[in-house]
Subunit: 384 residues, 2 copies
């Protein structure tokens, strides 16, 4: 079986590694170069997208910001899973908000801003503080603004206007303004839906962000009520999209209530722990769904955590001495803040996991992993 992935980054690479044992061959379309590459060897396999489409039994995507012409070409082949519509929803916060409202799932109050008049109206209709996010571009904290006080309004609008003007021509730019949610924690649910409508979800993952970028994810013992709430929302959204593949939903948790923050129509950074901590990893389950193979069990094998490696291409080898620690580099060239790799670690209990996280935090350089020590300390305190 042959699968073409739109996007040739670490997610395509980890899909390729996960399903090579199933004799499924992954080729990745590098949207930058317009070439199709082997994500495990990085060499060019086909010179054009059309050849990649021809080669593939199925086509999928590792990211949602794909130009609509590429999506249309793939959709027309009848091989694209999830559909171009589902991918577009993930790439446009306006469509995403429409979907969430249609599905009746809880999410933050919002307003769409394309003009100064919209901006002024949003300030009147919503309570501050606001978070304003580019509708089209940006994730990992890019294209986002926070507005805490009306005194900042003029400066914020100036920045947003500059962002619109600097963006692609001929595109209707907008930002989605949301009331900031005073959340207790951020969690995400990664799950998969197959073409028959079967769904499976992994345990909710607790996420910790640093400057808008995920730094640590942790899959703990399941809170059944919260898990059921998240699963219901997952099913609503995935069914509405007639979704095929892995879909991730990020939530704000406020008390015992989940509010959807955003959805990602793909495998997700907060699901990387599944490589060691779940019965079947998210990369394999995504490709299983795309290829009409049975979905694999998503059961938590043991409490597990993932630490992102940002902007660094070396970590001390000593981390490999910490039991159950696995290191995943993406083979990318070093750039400040770039997602270069991640570390997975598990424990037979949350206490053991916390103890191993503490060992890792002691070894990893604080300059790069500045949020790890406070996070681990807080986690230890929660458990004690």
């Amino acid at each position: 079986m042959n699968v073409l992935v739109l996007g040739a980054g670490q997610l395509a690479r980890m899909m390729a590694l996960a399903v090579k044992p199933l004799n499924i061959t992954i080729r990745a379309f590098d949207v930058g170069s317009g070439k199709v590459v082997d994500p495990l060897a990085s060499n060019i396999v086909f010179g054009s997208l059309e050849q990649g489409i021809e080669f593939a039994d199925f086509i999928t995507a590792e990211f949602e910001h794909i130009d609509h012409q590429t999506l249309a070409l793939c959709q027309a082949s009848g091989k694209l899973r999830p559909s171009s519509q589902a991918i577009k929803v993930g790439g446009d916060r306006r469509l995403e908000k429409q979907l969430l409202i249609k599905c009746g799932v809880a999410n933050a109050e919002h307003s769409i801003i394309a003009t100064k008049a919209d901006f002024d109206q949003a300030l009147n209709n919503l309570s501050l503080p606001l978070i304003l996010k580019s509708a089209l571009a940006g994730y990992d904290g890019k294209g986002q603004w926070r507005l805490k006080d009306k005194a900042q309004a003029a400066a914020t609008w100036h920045d947003i206007k500059a962002f619109f003007d600097g963006g692609e021509q001929g595109v209707k730019h907008a930002v989605v303004a949301e009331q900031m949610v005073p959340f207790d924690r951020e969690v995400s649910l990664v799950g998969a839906r197959d073409s028959q409508g079967n769904t499976v979800v992994y345990p909710l993952t607790e996420n910790h962000h640093t400057n808008g970028v995920l730094s640590v994810s942790i899959a703990r013992e399941i809170n059944q009520a919260l898990q059921a709430q998240a699963k219901q929302m997952f099913d609503s959204i995935a069914n509405e999209l007639d979704y095929i593949g892995v879909l991730a939903i990020e939530f704000f948790q406020v008390g015992e209530q989940l509010l959807v923050n955003e959805i990602a129509p793909r495998v997700h950074n907060s699901g990387h722990w599944t490589q060691q901590g779940a019965d079947t990893c998210q990369f394999e389950n995504h490709i299983r769904a795309v290829c009409d193979l049975p979905l694999g069990s998503t059961e938590l094998v043991r409490p597990s955590a993932m630490i992102n490696i940002l902007g660094e291409d070396h970590v001390p080898n000593e981390i490999l001495q910490v039991a159950s620690t696995t290191l995943h580099w993406y083979g990318k060239s070093k750039r400040a803040g770039r997602k270069m790799g991640h570390i997975n670690v598990s424990g037979n209990s949350e206490q053991q996991l916390a103890s191993r996280l503490t060992q890792l935090a002691e070894i990893l350089p604080a300059a790069t992993f500045d949020e790890l020590n406070p996070y681990v300390t807080a986690y230890q305190q929660q458990l004690s």
Copy 2:
């Protein structure tokens, strides 16, 4: 880091998959074609062994039957781990027996037979039944004879003589005759030793053979006394060889006593379950040792089993519905009896593992997996 593996079969492929996340590149020397290939893409990377040696930071092997000229070339580069001596011991039962005796580890009484006179003497010195194994060639049940009764002696010698005559010219052929051990079960120990002399071993694995070929391996809850006995033998042998990498030892268990059957200076089929069932898999630990990275924990995550897929390139997709089941194909062309892939399955308890094995045995075709049903039935009975 770049590693050249002598041999381009499934073991090199699984090493490449295991350490790609560590940014270690594996190239494999195909002894048949004399070319160096990328085991994940199968394309030729270098036209000669010399180029592969030049490319590599370290060299290792996936099998022990490597011609001595190749080994000498690799040894001379100073990059070969384990040493050519250790690899040769695994490829010559005469050297293996010398080593076991030198290390003082228990093993079956034996006699070396190169001539008819040796054969007659062995019949006098050893008690029947005997198992006679080619000293040089052969594993997975090839180049082996069983002699139960003196009446078979002439016919057996005739076969062995024909085997000698049909073998490579200019080589001193021999068979090692051993008294057959009335064992209770066959177990193996897979472990790793690094260049500093540190050793780690996985839990003893129980092995079930069909016609001399491994069909099922199972890693159960540890029997501490047996594990300690095996670890001591592992350390004796690995230290004597100043071994670097993963080394496997197959044992006969007689009561509470282990006798070494044979050793394999490499990752081993009976260690494939470690891909899902252990903290660090044998493939990663082998390359960690070879590359002077810290050895990873070998702890059993949960009871796990491996089922070999022999001579078959398709299994029902339904097996993927059995929780914790992973399928590993080797991408090889179909041939009767050939190791084509394996299935790993785990359980949170031995009971759960047995139940999942039962589900798999019901789905897998009995014609190909003929020994699985009786094995699983016996395992269920042991637990009840």
